[in-house]
Structure formats: C-alpha cells, structure tokens
C-alpha cells in the first residue's frame, strides 16, 4: 500500500488541519497576548479539546458501524472505561493533598472507612500502567463481549440492544459505592498529571494538542485498516454477511478484531477527555451518550472516518450552543437533526459532498472503465 493511497485529498486536508491545530492553538493560547484578536482563551481550548476526544470516539465507532455494519450502542462504555483508568491515575496523584490528607487512599475511600487500597487500584500510581489499562480494560471487555456475541451470530438490532444493556449494566455497577470507583460522585478534584498542574493553561494546551494528535493517529490507523484487504472483507460483511462466510472468511474473527480495536481507540479518547473536563462519573455510561455518538457519525457521514470526526465536532458545537441558549430544547433539536439527516442526507455531510465531487470529477475525466488497477508497492 502506498502512502499516497493512505492519505487521499480528504484525509490530507484533515491531517493538515489537525497538525496545524496541534501547533498553532497552544501558541495562540499561551504566547499571544490576551488583547490580540488571535488569542485563544482558556475556555475555548477546554471546549475544543473535549470535542476532539468525542471526534476520536466517533472515528472508532465509524470503523465498526460504517465499515462492518456493527451498530454499537455501547461505545460510550469503552470511552468511559478509558476515562476511569485515567481518572484512577489522577486520583492517585493527589496523594496526601486530599481533604483527609491520607497518602494511600483517595478521599472517598477514607470517607467509606476503608483501610486498604482495593486490588483494582493497585499500580495506578504509575502512568505507564494506567496507559496500559486505558487500552486493556476496554479491549478485554470488547473482546469478551464480542467473543460471545459474534460467535453466537447475534447481529442487527439484537446486537445493538445488548450493547445498550452492556453500558447500562456498567452504569449501575459504577453507581455502587462498594465497587470502589467513587460511586455516583465518580472521580474528581484532580491535581496534576505527570507532575503538571491539570488546571494550568500550558497543561490544558498540551492536552489539547495531544488530543488532536491522538485523533490523527486514530484516523490513520482506521484508514489503514479500511484500506487493507481486511477492510474490504469488513465491507463485504456489512453488505452480505452470509456470502462472506461462504467465501471462507471467518466473519466472527473479523468482527471481533475490529470491535476490539475500536473499543481501545474509544478508551484512549476517554482517557484524554477526563483530565480536560476534570471529572469522570457513572453518567458517562448513560445509554444516551452512546446513542449520541451514533448520531454524530450519521450526521458527518457513515463510512467516511473524517465525516465521523466532523460530525462529532459540529453536533457538540451545536449542543454547547443550545444548552447555553435554549437548554430545554437540546434533546428535541438532536432528535430532529437525526431525523432530518436520515431522511435528506443519508450519507451524511461528508458522504454527500464526496458524492458531488466524485460526480464532477467523473464528468471531467470521462469514463474510466479501463482503469489499470493500482499495483501495490
């Protein structure tokens, strides 16, 4: 596969925008004086950094839904688990600076009269271990879930329903104080990350840049997967699953692999999200969150990757605006948006634009029936 094919025009623009944002936004926030029109205020960084994490979640979801037809309504769970893994690291970094000044236990555990750190928390004072868990916990859950679901050939609506059940079950579990993850308050009051104050502007700017880079890397991985023959098999499964089996492909293994990869990407998104918003609590497992993520992908364009990211940013921008201006109407607006997109833009924003461009190009180039296939190098 050539790099020219890995990045098409759309992908190249996307990459340039992300790299530019990763470099310029921190400069505009830190080095440009507040009076200048080019200054980016702190709240904008926090907000857009959050959008970038959602965009990564959307790319992960598009990989399984857009390319393999697995409509996961539980991807929010993988995002939240990645978030919790990062949150646990951040909690351990508080050390003795908590209200109860206990060097070994987070405040909520002292409050519950616990004396020892639960096993699940062991190792989380190490950043490397936490990063490993950010990938491993969502990955293992997705693998275990997929192992049973895909082997039993649960598909379509039934699969969507059990993914909802999965995230709902986790929501209920994480609400419980005795689970040891902070109950309904979740994890918060973070102080620093790798020794840097999480509230400080330079740290926030760095987290923003990291989110942009993570989104780019996630996009490139997803793109490489979809461009490979593996990716062609995924689309074949989406279009005609049983036909794919009769060709000799083990559909369940393909689904399992892509679902697990996607869950790990969602976990990374959650891990970047938590230090930027400063809290992780069980509401991140709410089934509605996962459904919202599906709407982002639908709005931006299923099966386009870039579209999923754009959809996430646009819808969340709309959400921020609406919840400020007309909070009680947000859910109606979101519902209406979904209905309108489904009816009038079934390919989403990017999918529809892509179609228009393709038509123009075909008109300009003429029939290209005898195109010589690109030879892999």
């Amino acid at each position: 596969m050539t790099s020219a094919r890995l990045l098409d025009l759309r992908g190249a623009i996307f990459a340039v925008v992300l790299i530019a944002a990763a470099i310029l936004v921190p400069i505009a926030a830190l080095a440009v004086p507040p009076a200048s029109p080019f200054h980016v205020p702190a709240y904008v960084i926090a907000l857009t950094g959050k959008y970038l994490c959602y965009a990564l979640l959307a790319v992960a979801l598009d990989l399984v839904w857009g390319y393999c037809g697995i409509l996961s309504l539980g991807h929010g769970a993988f995002f939240a688990l990645g978030g919790y893994a990062m949150g646990m690291y951040l909690m351990r970094q508080i050390g003795a600076r908590g209200v109860y000044a206990n060097p070994n236990l987070p405040d909520f555990m002292v409050f519950l009269n616990w004396h020892d750190l639960p096993v699940a928390w062991w190792g989380f004072n190490s950043f490397g271990y936490a990063l490993l868990m950010v990938l491993a916990v969502p990955g293992v859950l997705a693998f275990a879930f997929g192992w049973f679901a895909f082997r039993s050939r649960v598909t379509g609506v039934y699969l969507s329903i059990i993914t909802q059940a999965m995230t709902y079950a986790l929501l209920l579990a994480f609400f419980r104080n005795d689970m040891g993850f902070g109950g309904n308050n979740g994890l918060t009051d973070f102080k620093d990350i790798l020794g840097w104050n999480v509230q400080a502007e330079p740290t926030r700017a760095a987290l923003f840049s990291l989110s942009a880079i993570a989104l780019l890397i996630g996009y490139l991985i997803a793109r490489a997967v979809t461009m490979s023959k593996f990716g062609k098999v995924l689309v074949a499964i989406r279009d005609a699953e049983s036909r794919t089996r009769f060709l000799g492909y083990r559909v369940e293994n393909y689904k399992l692999l892509v679902f697990t990869l996607s869950a790990m990407m969602a976990g990374v998104a959650g891990a970047l999200y938590v230090p930027q918003v400063g809290i992780i609590n069980p509401s991140e497992f709410a089934p509605a969150n996962s459904i919202e993520a599906v709407i982002w992908v639908a709005v931006g364009g299923r099966g386009t990757l870039v579209g999923a990211a754009i959809g996430a940013v646009l819808v969340n921008f709309g959400k921020t605006y609406f919840t400020g201006a007309l909070p009680e109407y947000w859910l109606f607006a979101l519902g209406a948006l979904f209905v309108l997109v489904t009816l009038f833009l079934p390919k989403g924003i990017v999918g529809t634009l892509g179609q228009l461009f393709a038509r123009e190009r075909r008109a300009a180039v003429g029939a290209r029936g005898n195109r010589v296939p690109a030879v892999a190098e």
Binding site: S228, F230, R243, F246, R250, P373
Partner: protein, 251 residues
C-alpha cells in the same frame, strides 16, 4: 475425519432429512457425485434443490442422514467457512455480490488466498494477483466494468460476476443455483458453454429450471420432487419417465 475413504464419491449424500417447523423440505435425499462430474438437478419449485445446497455448504444442518465430501469428510460437522476452505464454492439463486465493492474487488475477495484476519490485515498482495483477476474478468466478460460498483450491474451481469467469483475461489466442487435465471437466450447459451469449459477441471452441480439449458449441458440429470430423488439419468431418459412427467404436468 478419519482419513479413510468411506466412499469413492466426491460428494455423497445419504438419507438426508431436513424439516422447517414441521415441513419436510428434504425427505431422505440421496445423491452421489463422482470426481470430475458435472450434474444437473431439476425439479419443480419447492422440491428442495436450494435446501440441498444449504445442507452441503453448512448453512442448514440436516436432522438425519450423512453428507460426505471427498470420501471421508463429514460436512455436517463443519461451518460455512470451513466448508468453503475445503473447496466447495457456491453461487446463489438470488445473485449475491458485494454491492459497494467494485467488480474487481468482488473477484479479489473471492480469489483463493489465505482467509485469516491476520493475513488480510498485514498480508501483501501476492504476485500475479492482477493477472489472475484480469483472466477471470475476461472469462466472464466483465473486463470493461472492472472499476464499476457491483451494485450497479444488471441482473445478468451479477450472475456472471458470481460465476467469476466461483472461478476465483477455484473450488474442487462448484454448486451453481439457477445460473441463467433472468438471462437472454444468447447469454444462456454462453453460460452453458462457460460451465462446460469449467467442468473440464472441476466438479459441478447445477440447479436449473431451464430445460433447454439443461439439455445444452448434456450431462446426467437428477430429478428432485418433494425432497427426494425420483429419477436420474440422461435428459432424454428422465424426461420420458412417467413419474417425472406427472410431477411436471400435475402442477
């Protein structure tokens, strides 16, 4: 698999029974195909022809009976992917191609190559792959449409693409369900010629309603009715068989 050949047939079905919610689609079907043979299967609608293919390819498990491939491989114990890997390819009654892939990619996906996820994710295209695709597209007459999406093909073209995909799989046994449905007479004749040439180095089971086509193939014919074989032999012999005449005229 015990390695010992139970039969000298390539495909061997004995007393196969399948029922759907009490309805018996196959009622003790027995059939033996010798290696290298091409066999035509006819029978009225609902006779169980497609169900027979479903049993052979692992889509449907029989309630009773034996299904052996290559003498000793029990197909009833395997799933679709494993059976396909053994070398049994199938063309569906309703043409089923990957609509959002190009014609070329449909053939690529069918092409005999490692099927494991790791192989398709990290593997490189084998040398000569494009030559093989070119040859197959030329054989089924779709070279000019290679870059088109399969979803945009006509019904007949989809049938041909599916036959091309079968060729790409290079199976030992081809199961072809109603290959000429929806084709013009000229296309039908071309398809018969194509199947005859494929039959030179493959074993084939063809299900078809089109009598002219079956006659054109010039091979042994098996007549199915209500889930069992009622006649077998050359086309002239079976079409003179009173039982066969009754089944076809009685409807």
């Amino acid at each position: 698999m015990d390695g010992k050949a139970l039969t000298s047939s390539l495909l061997y079905l004995d007393g196969v029974k399948v029922s759907f919610d009490g309805y018996q689609a196959l009622r003790g079907l027995s059939l033996a195909l010798t290696p290298g043979e091409m066999r035509a299967i006819i029978g009225p609608n609902g006779a169980g022809k497609t169900t027979m293919m479903d049993v052979i390819t692992g889509k449907t498990r029989p309630d009773e009976g034996d299904v052996y491939f290559a003498g000793s491989i029990d197909l009833t114990a395997l799933d679709e992917a494993a059976i396909a890997e053994l070398g049994i390819g199938r063309k569906f009654q309703k043409p089923t191609v990957f609509e959002s892939h190009t014609v070329e990619d449909n053939v690529l996906l069918a092409l005999k190559a490692p099927r494991a996820a790791a192989a398709t994710l990290f593997g490189r295209d084998e040398a000569g792959i494009h030559r093989r695709i070119d040859a197959i597209l030329a054989t089924v007459g779709l070279s000019d449409l290679r870059a088109h999406l399969a979803g945009g093909l006509s019904h007949g073209q989809k049938q041909w693409l599916e036959i091309g995909m079968l060729l790409a799989q290079d199976p030992k046994l081809l199961l072809v369900d109603e290959p000429v449905a929806g084709m013009t007479d000229a296309e039908t004749a071309q398809t018969a010629q194509l199947l005859r040439s494929i039959a030179k180095d493959h074993s084939i089971v063809v299900v078809e309603h089109d009598m002219a086509f079956v006659r054109d193939l010039g091979v042994k014919v098996t007549v199915l009715h209500e889930g069992a074989v009622i006649a077998e032999g050359p086309i002239d012999q079976v079409s003179a068989d009173p039982k066969v005449i009754e089944v076809y005229l009685g409807r």
